[in-house]
């Protein structure tokens, strides 16, 4: 099992996790999620991301460890941008590799759902020349909680 956790100011490229997860046939499945900056019908020009250096990496590491204890993964890549990000650009990448697709699909969704509600990032949107803080969504809390509710009754796979 290999892991890559990174917070960076620069751009993300989809080929990076793809190449990094290649393992000469050990994994039969790679699932990658990339989150991109929506322009909300042309309203949002850019986002600005702030984080809590140190804690961010440690929370992401804990989330990946939890995923590894629930699913048999061969690799997990999490990269998140901070700073100013233009509409249409990638803001986050979560990619996992596993022998079979189900574990990879579920682990990728799990990592992303927990990242949204646990990792200390905060975003502002640039709308009409003003930076406005984005409010957290209750639906994100529910998504994370739904994974944790069944944590005890479910065997890792």
């Amino acid at each position: 099992m290999k892991t890559h956790i990174e917070v960076r100011e620069g751009g993300l490229s989809a080929s990076e996790p793809d190449l990094w997860l290649r393992d000469q046939g050990r994994s039969g499945a790679v699932v990658m999620f990339s989150g991109q900056v929506r322009d909300e019908q042309g309203k949002v020009e850019a986002l600005h991301l702030e984080h809590y250096p140190g804690m961010t990496e440690s929370v992401l590491g804990t989330i990946v460890e939890q995923a590894c204890s629930r699913w048999h993964l061969n690799g997990a890549w999490v990269a998140h941008r901070v700073g100013t990000i233009q509409a249409g650009e990638d803001i986050v990448q979560v990619a996992v590799s596993s022998a079979h697709r189900q574990a990879a699909f579920e682990a990728c969704a799990f990592i992303m759902d927990l990242l949204k509600t646990r990792a200390p990032f905060w975003k502002k949107e640039l709308i009409d020349g003003c930076w406005i803080w984005v409010e957290a969504r209750e639906s994100d809390d529910q998504a994370a909680a739904s994974w944790l509710q069944d944590a005890t009754g479910r065997a890792p796979r």
Binding site: G35, L49, E50, H51, Y52, G54, M55, S58, V59, H80, I91, V92, M112, L115, K116, T117, R118, A119, P120, F121, W122, K123, W133, V134, E135, A136
Partner: protein
């Protein structure tokens, strides 16, 4: 000493990113620390009131308002996270 850090909207509203305090007598939880901050600092009281939904981390680990605070701790207060 306890370091209290603020992030995002709460940091902007507080007008500072961190303060150092001697752990006041009678303060042993996050909730008590927040109450004490609001009682002793008008600007912080306003910033906290304007940010009613908050998360907390003690020494970079997520906690809650009942989490224990001890001398030497770094307590971070912030609005709900919005990454991803």
């Amino acid at each position: 000493m306890v370091q209290v850090r603020f992030f995002a909207a709460l940091r902007e509203r507080a007008g500072r990113d961190a303060i150092q305090i001697d752990l006041p007598e009678g303060v042993s939880t996050v909730a008590q620390l927040v109450d004490w901050l609001a009682e002793t600092d008008v600007a912080l009281a306003q910033a906290l009131e304007a940010t009613p939904r908050r998360m907390v981390a003690i020494n970079e680990v997520l906690g809650n308002e009942d989490s224990v605070v001890e001398a030497g701790d770094v307590v971070a207060l912030f609005p709900p996270v919005t990454g991803g």
